[in-house]
Subunit: 308 residues, 3 copies
C-alpha cells in the first residue's frame, strides 16, 4: 500500500520508497519500449499542458514524448517568455487552465518556488510537475540521474559522487543531492570556484571542494554542470580556457577517479569548457543514457500520477 | 430537420433554434465529460488548423482542447504575428491550406470581417470558425456567455444584463448582444465612458449608460469587459484608480444589482481596474465557469460542423 | 525486391525505380484519402520530429499533416531560428534526439549539406528527411513536382520543362532537375537573369536561357521560382515591374508554350513579380494541385521509411 504521488515539485521530502518505486516504474517503461511496444495506453484521454516560462526545448520535448508514449494529449501553452507571470496574474492563469479540465501542468519558471505556489493555489485535482524552478529544483533530472547511476552502480551505500561546476545556481545539483542522499549515497562532494559554490549550511551532509583534482579522487560518478557563460564575469577565472583548466573534466582528471567512474552531464554540454570532447564522447560517458532515461522517468512520474 | 452549420463567423444572423441547439449540445458534451468520458470519437480523422494572426493563448488552447477531446487532430499554423496577411496573400494562404484537405480553419485576425472574407474565397468544403475579428465578433464567446447565464437563469425573457467597459472596441460585447437578443433577453444595458461607447444606432435595442451605478441597478448579470491599458489615454479618466472608481465592479456596486447577480468577465481580468479582487473571486463570480463552458461550446460547434 | 529508403536527403542518386515507387505510393495515399479514409494506421506509435532551423510554416505543416494522417505522433522542436546550430553543437542536438528514440527527423537548414551531415553522424536507426538545405536540395518538392506532372503528362520522354527565375539559389530547381532527369525528361531548360543563373557545368544536360520568350517556346511545363525580393539588388533589373516584364509568366508568354502547358510554382507566389494573377489562378495552373500532392508524397516517403 502506498499513497500515490499527487504533485512533484521537489525530491526534498520524497520518501526513499517513493523514489525507488518511480525508478522501478521507469525500468518497466524502458523494458516495454525495448520489447517493441511503441505506445502504452495508460493515459488515454488525459491532457497534459506544458507551461514553460523559460525556454527549454529539450526538457519540454522529453516531457511531451513521455506523455504521448502513454497515450495522453499534450498542449503547449506558449507563454511569451518575456512575461513576468507572477502573483495574481499567475494564479489566474492557473485557475483558467484548471477550469479547462487539464490533468497535469508541467511548469518551468525562473522564480524558485513557483511550482509550490501553484500547488497551494490549485483549486481542482490538477497535478503540478516541476520542470525546473530557479536555482531550486529539477526533480525529474534528479530521478533520471539516480536511475542512470543505479543501472551501473546498484549499491548507493558504496557510492562517492562528485558534482562540479556552478553548484550555487544549479537546480540540477540540488535535486541530485536530494535524490542521492535519500538513496543512501556514501559521499557527495560539491566542487566549483568559490563564487559559484553555495553556503555550506545548505548542504550539511556534503563535502565542499574548490580543487577539482582533490574532489574527483576516487569518485564513482562525476556530474559536470553546465556553465552559463554569462557567469564567467562573476568568477575570478579570466576565460573559458582557464575555467576548463581548473574545473573541466579531461582524461587526466578522469584517470584520478575510481575505475570506470561514470561521466554525467545534464546537457547541453559546452565542449572544452566544462568537459573535454574525448571524455564527453568516451566510453565512460553516460550523457546520452541520461537523455533516454529522462523520457522513461517522466513516463514513470506521469503514469504514477495520472493513471486510473 | 435543420440545416447544419457550415461556418461560424458571427452570431448576428444565427436563428434562435440554432443557438439553442448549440447550447444543448454543449450541455451534452459537459455531461459526457462529467460522467468520466475523457474523449469522444466524433471527429476521429478530422484535422483542424489554428490560424491566429493575433496572439491568444487562452482561446487557442480552448479550441485545441475542444478539438482533441472530440478525437480530431490539431495543427497550429504559426503565423508571425507581425505579418499583415491581407488581400491576395491571405487568400493564397487559405487556398494552400484548403489544398492540404483540412476540415476546419479557426481564425483570429485584427481586421474585422476577415473570417467572412475567408468564407467568400474558400474553394473547398473547409469550415471557417471565427475566434475573434477586430471589434466585430467573437461568436464562441457569445455562446459560452449565453450558456453560463442559461445554467443559472434559464428564462432569458426575465433577464436584465449590463455590459460595462470598453464596449466600443469589444467583439465580446457585440457577440454577447447578438446572442442575448436572439434568446429574448428583456433588457441589455451598455455602460462605459463616452469615448469607449459605440454609436447608439449600432445597438438600437440596448440602453446606454455612462453611469455604472445607474446601469447596474437591478441587473441579473454583469459582464465586465477587459480594459486595454493603452486605451487609457483616449478617455478622460486620468488613471486606473479613477477608472475603477467610475466603472469597476466592487462589492458596493454589486449590492445594487439584483440579488445573486451573476458576475462575468471574458478574461484575462485586470484586478483593481475593471473588477475588485473580492468580486472576481467571490461567490457570485462565474468567470471560471465561463472558461469551462468555453471548451464545451467549442466542442459543440466543432461537433455540429464536422461530425459525419 | 527492393531496398527500402532509409534517409532522403537528395534525389540526386535515387534510382528511377525508387522515385517511381514513391510516386506510385503517393497515388495510393491519395486514392485512400479520396475514398474517405481519413487516417491510416501505418505509422501508429511512430514519432517524427520537425527540426526546422529556417522558418517554413507551409512545408512543416505539410509534413505534420502527412505524418498524422499515417497515425504518427509529431513533435515540433522549436529551435530559435537565430541559432547557428552547426558542427558539434548540431551533432549533440542530433544525438540527444536520437537518445529519445525518435523514428525520423525532418530537417530544414540554411547550410547546404546539413542533412547528410546528420546522416553521417547518426548513431541509431533514426531516419533523416531533408525539408530543404541551403541552395542544394528539397527532395520532397522534386517528388511532388514530378507527381503533378505525371498525372497530366505520363510520358516524360516527350516532355520539355522550363524552370524560370532565380535558379542559382534554388534548391527546388535542383531537386526538380534531379527528378525529371531520372524520369527521362526530353529537355530541361533553365532560364533567368545572368546573375541568378548557376554554372552551366553544374547542369550539363540542361539548356540555358536568359530570354524567357525563347525558353518557354513549346514547353509542356513551366515552373516559376519564387524571387527573394532581397535578391533584386544583385541583378541588373531596376525593379519588380522590370523583372516581371523580362521573366514573369503572363498570358502572352503562356500562349507561346505548348498547348495546355502546365503552370507550376513551389509557392508562396509573388503575384505580379514572377507570375501574373490571371495565370496563377487560370485553368492551366497546377499550383494548388502541387500543394495537395505535397502531402501525399510526404505520406509516401514516411510510409516507405517507417512502416513495419
Amino acid at each position: 500500500m502506498f499513497s500515490r504521488l499527487r504533485h512533484l515539485t521537489t525530491l526534498e521530502n520524497l520518501p526513499r520508497e517513493c523514489i525507488e518505486r518511480l525508478l522501478d516504474r521507469a525500468i518497466t517503461m524502458r523494458d516495454a519500449c525495448a520489447h517493441g511496444t511503441r505506445k502504452l495506453d495508460l493515459l488515454n484521454g488525459r491532457t497534459i499542458l506544458n507551461l514553460f516560462f523559460e525556454p527549454s526545448t529539450r526538457t519540454r520535448t522529453s516531457f511531451e514524448l513521455a506523455a504521448r508514449r502513454l497515450g495522453a494529449d499534450v498542449i503547449n501553452f506558449d507563454i511569451g517568455f518575456s512575461s513576468t507571470a507572477k502573483g495574481e496574474e499567475l494564479f489566474d492563469t492557473l485557475h483558467t487552465l484548471e477550469a479547462m479540465h487539464l490533468d497535469a501542468i508541467i511548469v518551468r519558471h525562473k522564480v524558485s518556488g513557483t511550482p509550490d505556489e501553484l500547488v497551494r493555489h490549485a483549486m481542482s485535482g490538477v497535478s503540478v510537475i516541476n520542470a525546473g524552478d530557479g536555482n531550486r529544483a529539477h526533480p525529474t533530472q534528479g530521478l533520471l540521474d539516480a536511475l542512470t547511476i543505479r543501472q551501473h552502480r546498484p549499491d548507493f551505500s558504496a557510492l562517492t559522487v562528485v558534482i562540479c561546476g556552478d553548484v550555487k545556481h544549479s537546480r540540477v545539483a540540488r535535486s541530485d543531492v536530494h535524490a542521492f542522499t535519500r538513496l543512501g549515497a556514501k559521499e557527495i562532494r560539491l566542487c566549483g570556484p568559490a563564487p559559484l559554490m553555495p553556503d555550506q549550511q545548505e548542504f550539511p551532509d556534503c563535502k565542499f571542494y574548490n580543487n577539482f583534482d582533490q574532489a574527483i579522487e576516487g569518485a564513482d560518478v562525476a556530474i559536470m554542470l553546465r556553465l552559463q557563460k554569462e557567469r564567467m564575469s562573476s568568477i575570478e577565472l579570466p576565460d573559458e580556457a582557464a575555467y576548463f583548466r581548473e574545473y573541466g573534466l579531461d582524461s587526466r582528471r578522469l584517470a584520478m577517479a575510481a575505475r570506470g567512474c561514470l561521466v554525467m552531464h545534464p546537457g547541453p554540454i559546452n565542449r572544452g569548457i566544462e568537459i573535454a570532447p574525448e571524455v564527453a564522447d568516451g566510453p565512460q560517458s553516460r550523457i546520452l543514457e541520461q537523455v533516454g532515461n529522462g523520457v522513461f522517468v517522466r513516463m514513470a512520474v506521469l503514469g504514477e500520477m495520472l493513471a486510473r
